[in-house]
């Protein structure tokens, strides 16, 4: 029942997103959309996915879009181009897809083809083969480790892309001027700053818990990385970018992003050298189960490092660009007055 309500709400939010002209409202609605879909994932038993979607969809993506809107302006032009042909295409495609669903297995059917192929092996044998209670972790980190490696490399590449597009070469004397603008904005929120200062250590602790408890409950490197980055981003938002840059060295997090991928890849190489297949952890220790545990621990560390530092790199690049925009605008205003 709850899933039907959540899905209906999702449709309502999607329609509201289409109709809104104010981009600020659109971005907030997208955050709500992410949170609703995270709740839906909990109702569908996908706790790991819900965890990730709540941290990413409702948290970091909303934040990034807000930073971009601050640079590009929040009003959308009213005129749309060719709304009628677009509507036609959308309706025809949607109609065909709905026609296609009539042949699909019904929702929740246990005999659907998707549950017949590899899933029974994961559910029945993963405890004996991998020895980790959370099946999602054992599939992610052991059975499909090669696939996950690809995903980590994609995240790393996207991080590099953002860095190339947005990184600002800053001179020392500029940095001081920009920081004075930046700090004056953050002096007023005293209560938030003190509360956040107390919360941040616990957020870090929670991130580490999620990282290491991922074998036994929902969690793992992806979620832990996002939560860890969220704590740093919170710090940067409240205490100013320049303070945050002093706390976290930018070159250092770029290094960590690469080290994470390297750690992940080298686990594969080491298993290859010990006469196993790429990412076959059984050969890492004398006991296959101990080898699996070691391999999963190491690659989850690699994933956590890369995800956390790429998220931080992305945030710092965007925020640094925004800082530059504000600085340029102020200089322009001073010159004209």
């Amino acid at each position: 029942m709850i899933d039907i309500i959540l899905l209906t709400l999702l449709v309502v939010v999607a329609i509201a997103i289409i109709r809104m002209k104010d981009l600020f409202a659109v971005v907030m609605l997208l955050g709500i959309y992410g949170l609703l879909s995270a709740s839906f994932f909990v109702a569908m038993d996908a706790v790991d996915v819900a965890f990730t979607e709540a941290a990413v969809g409702a948290g970091i993506s909303t934040l990034l879009m807000l930073v971009v809107i601050a640079m590009t302006g929040r009003k959308e032009k009213t005129n749309r181009h060719k709304p009628l042909p677009a509507l036609c295409i959308v309706l025809i495609t949607g109609g065909l897809l709905i026609y296609g669903t009539f042949d699909m297995p019904h929702f929740g059917a246990a005999d659907a083809p998707i549950h017949q192929h590899v899933a029974p092996r994961y559910i029945n044998d993963s405890m004996a083969e991998v020895g980790v209670p959370n099946i999602v972790t054992s599939v992610l980190a052991s059975y499909r480790a090669f696939d996950t490696f690809g995903e980590v490399v994609v995240i790393f590449t996207a991080g590099i892309g953002v860095l190339t597009l947005l990184s600002v070469a800053r001179r020392k004397e500029d940095a001081e001027k920009i920081s004075s603008i930046n700090d004056s904005m953050h002096e007023q929120h005293l209560v938030i700053r003190i509360v956040a200062k107390m919360l941040i250590p616990f957020i870090f602790l929670f991130a580490l818990y999620v990282q290491f408890h991922g074998d036994f409950g929902p969690g793992g490197g992806f979620q832990a990385g996002v939560i860890f980055a969220a704590a740093i981003i919170l710090y940067a938002m409240l205490f100013g970018l320049n303070t945050a840059r002093k706390v976290i060295n930018q070159t250092f997090i770029q290094l960590i992003a690469a080290v994470g991928v390297l750690l992940y890849g080298s686990v594969g190489i080491v298993s290859l050298m010990n006469d196993g297949n790429f990412f076959n952890y059984n050969v890492l220790a004398s006991d296959p189960i101990a080898g699996q545990h070691l391999g999963i621990l190491l690659i989850e560390w690699g994933v956590g490092c890369t995800v956390a530092s790429v998220m931080m790199i992305i945030f710092f690049s965007f925020a640094g660009r925004l800082e530059l925009h504000q600085h340029n605008e102020r200089v322009k205003n001073q010159e004209s007055s």
Partner: protein
């Protein structure tokens, strides 16, 4: 009976809303929001296929007989994080477009491009005439 396919229809509705935003709206940020809506609808599709009636979350415990399918969970878990990384890349392109053109409306960007092209063609013709 009717509700058996409800999830799929909602997924298609969401997917088509995303597609409509991408086609019909000229604002680049709105387009990226549309892509996110589209993307999340695919996540919802996978996760609802993984659900088994009477199943629980795929974390092994005693006296549980029915688990939901863990494989789609794995695929979507990684897809979400990859999704935010690629969205960030798209947003950074939008920022650069704004810096280069002073606008993020598709039509105005197209107009400026056309003007530039006309100017270039004009200058070329003039050069050839002079030669």
């Amino acid at each position: 009976m009717l509700m058996d396919l409800f999830n799929h229809w909602v997924v298609i509705t969401l997917m088509m809303s995303g597609l409509y935003i991408v086609i019909a709206h000229g604002n680049l940020i709105k387009k990226i929001v549309g892509l996110s809506v589209f993307q999340t609808s695919v996540f919802i599709f996978y996760i609802s296929m993984a659900k088994v009636d009477g199943g629980t979350a795929p974390i092994l415990a005693d006296d549980i007989v029915q688990y939901s399918n863990p494989l789609p969970h794995v695929l979507i878990l990684t897809a979400i994080v990859v999704g935010i990384a690629t969205t960030a890349l798209g947003l950074s392109l939008v920022v650069r477009i704004k810096e280069a053109y002073g606008s993020i409306e598709e039509e105005s960007i197209q107009q400026q491009d056309n003007q530039q092209q006309d100017n270039n063609a004009h200058a070329k013709r003039k050069q050839e005439e002079e030669a």
